[in-house]
Amino acid sequence: MALSDLWFVLIAVLFIGFMILEGFDFGVGMGTKFLAKTEREKQLLIHTIGPVWDANEVWLITAGGAMFAAFPHWYATVFSGYYMPFVLLLIVLIARGVAFEFREKVDSPKWIAVWDWSIFAGSIVPPFLLGVLFSSMLKGMPVDGDMNLHAGFADFVNIYTVAGGVAFVLLSYLHGLLFLTLKTEGPMRKRAKEAALRIYWAAGIVLAVFIGLTAVYTDAFASRQAILIPLFAVVLILYALLHRLIKKGREGFSFTVTAVTLAAVTASFFIGLFPNVLVSTIDSAFNMTIKASASGEYSLKLMTFVALTMVPIVIGYTIWSYYVFRKRLTEDSEHLEY
């Protein structure tokens, strides 16, 4: 395996890690609008992700940095080509990031309402945009011979990319609800479970539709049948079992299933793209391959060394931080303020 292939896998892993980790805290963020009824309940929800959301977001920043360093052309093409979606993504992420810190600093319902909307927008828009981003990259974008992307609205927004976006949003919400069944006690735990059972169907249908559309709109199945068919088969079987798991209160298992589902959907984009990083709709000769988009050997070697040393350490203290905050929270927990 060439180092550039390894980095393609590593970047996929970073995005998968991001979708699993930030996925549940996006879901909890959506829950602050749909699930929480009182101020106290909102605080409870926010508190469940308080210690970890910031670190979860770093997975995205690291993925972006890794693209820049390992695949400068990919980074340059995507970030300039998806200019407006990224502007929108950044705006909502900025609003969300400060909202957690700001919302309880001033004792005014209006003030709190503003930041509640920020948290909600910042939790629902990013998974949608990332779903659009990945599915459109797989479907193909108008990349020219100079590796520049000139996309129009229909390239970003079409039935396939919207399905991808909605799938990410609903799966994240379900994932977040299941996280809440793990992290809370009492009425909130019960309500999260009930909501999860309801969302289960919507998310399941969109997931199935999305997989179907992938077969229609992309070459992924044609070129990667041997991997994608078993992968999606496993996902659909697990998902079919999920309803029972939730009902029975197997919270750890249920949460693992949504994590696996999000991971598989994210991974499928990268599997479908390989050995390209971007598919061109103008001319397949303009497809950007992993090899042609990558940095030099020296840079990749160095980064591999850094990643192999640092990633285990990062994972180590990340696990430790989840261990520190392993206890369930209740509404009577003494301090829920941020």
């Binding site: 910031d54 340059a76 590796m147 020296y298 840079s299 640092m310 520190v324």
Partner: protein, 467 residues
């Protein structure tokens, strides 16, 4: 070419805004870590109270620093894609390493620190704020490693039409990095310190919580002295670096069109006419420029016209002179603020050791506006550094005008420029309002809340339904 201008405005404004928060975060993280260490070592409640009070500012500030930082990483690809393609190999690597080495550390341990006060032992909780502090410094190191490459490209070879890394040791031992990194860190330390000094001075003037703020101002002044003196020494080494690595920037900073005499005098202020290429009405200090440049009292400094001729010979026809007035005045504003900070810290320490500080109302009054000086110094330091490098984005390798994204329209950049400016302005206002609120409330108010509310960071927070 409108795109270049808009992208530059966007880069400058978002970077300068981001850089309001970064130095304050670095400085305050260190000071809070020191306060909490004092608490763990001396076991006196007052140090914990100090840690809690100052951390409210730190956390508000940190949040804005983090969110505005995300755009910093993204905009290289969004607005400067040609640049990103050209240098991603060597410029992207430090950014990726920063994320792996520093961002994860900061963001994980800040969560642990905020929420872990009652779940962790005192020592582990203390260790987590030190890890945050170390993370902020590491972050600065890798960003400056990347920036130093733009100022002084090393450790690369031109291959496949790109600058590819071939020597990481050269990149990390880049002379520019080792003059810029300490200078930036000392600047940050001074920023945090004079914030603590100024806010404490406000309370001492009002005679509120005198013991608490006498201790705080003492810590602030000691740290501020380290920052101020560090700034002065590292600033001097920056000048010497410029002389041999970026002489054009140095000449512009001096408004020096023709070569200087030998020994060279340092210009305090002057009138610069960039069109006629003359500098008149100089107020000069003899010998000083030679000393600044070479550490000795002789030696001439080349002027911009000579340097431009040299560069035309090397890189072809063109104007390689950066905006002179901006560079000249930015340098003076930066250096001036540094000088005031050194004097302020020394005078304050003198008053502190004679136990007169709480009574010196003139000094205390002056320290309140001094809060803003480090921010001004930091900003103009960067303006000098980045404007003085123009027209290059990577010195000698790539011009700024050639670096933009060819597929992004001026309209798109303008849209994002307006969006981000609006949001950043709102964030700036909110920060000021929140800071004022926290200052008005002060540390004493906490006592009136339920004492069993043990969340250490709820100073001034809403307590809806807490008890």
């Amino acid at each position: 070419m409108e795109e270049v201008l808009l992208a530059r405005i966007q880069f400058a404004s978002t970077t300068l805004f981001h850089f309001i928060f970064v130095p304050l975060s670095i400085g305050l993280a260190l000071i809070i870590a020191i306060m909490q260490t004092l608490y763990v070592v001396k076991k006196k409640e007052i140090y914990m109270k100090m840690t809690k009070f100052w951390s409210v500012f730190f956390l508000i500030n940190f949040a804005i620093g983090v969110v505005t930082g995300i755009f910093q990483e993204f905009q290289f690809g969004m607005n400067w894609s040609t640049y990103s393609r050209f240098v991603g190999d060597i410029f992207g690597a430090p950014l990726a390493v920063e994320a792996l080495l520093a961002f994860f550390l900061e963001s994980t341990f800040i969560g642990i620190w905020i929420f872990g006060a009652h779940k962790l032992s005192k020592k582990v909780h203390l260790a987590s704020i030190w890890l945050v502090s170390i993370g902020t410094v590491l972050s600065a190191f890798w960003i400056l490693a990347a920036n130093s490459f733009m100022q002084n490209p090393v450790g690369y070879q031109l291959q496949n039409g790109r600058a590819e890394m071939n020597d990481i040791v050269a990149l990390l031992t880049n002379e520019k990095l080792w003059v810029a990194f300490p200078h930036t860190i000392f600047g940050s330390i001074a920023t945090g310190a004079f914030f603590v000094v100024g806010v404490s001075a406000f309370y001492l003037l009002k005679k509120r919580q005198t013991d608490f703020f006498k201790k705080s101002i003492g810590i602030g002044l000691l740290v501020g002295m380290v920052g101020g003196l560090g700034l002065a020494f590292t600033g001097h080494s920056q000048a010497q670096y410029l002389m041999h690595a970026q002489p054009m920037k140095m000449a512009a900073a001096e408004g020096l069109w023709e070569d200087s005499g030998d020994p060279a005098a340092w210009t305090v202020i002057a009138k610069i006419d960039s069109d006629k290429q003359v500098t008149t009405q100089r107020l000069e200090i003899p010998y000083l420029l030679s000393y600044l440049s070479y550490n000795e009292f002789s030696g001439k400094v080349l002027g911009m016209n000579t340097l431009n001729d040299q560069m035309v010979e090397k890189y072809g026809e063109g104007n390689y002179i950066p905006p002179v007035k901006t560079t000249f005045w930015s340098f003076r504003i930066m250096a001036g603020t540094g000088g005031v900070l050194v004097m302020a810290s020394l005078l304050g320490l003198f008053l502190l050791f004679r136990k007169k500080i709480a009574a010196s109302s003139l000094y205390l009054k002056l320290m309140i506006p001094v809060i803003f000086l480090p921010f001004i110094g930091n900003s103009f330091g960067w303006i000098m550094s980045e404007i003085g490098r123009q027209p290059w984005v990577v010195n000698g390798l790539m011009k700024t005008a050639d670096a933009v994204s060819p597929n992004v329209s001026a309209g798109q950049i303008l849209f994002s420029l307006i969006s981000f400016s609006t949001i950043y302005a709102i964030l700036g206002i909110i920060m000021v309002v929140l800071f004022v609120k926290v200052i008005q409330r002060g540390p004493e108010e906490r006592k009136q809340e339920d004492v069993s509310v043990t969340d250490p960071f709820n100073v001034g927070g809403v307590t809806n339904g807490t008890k």
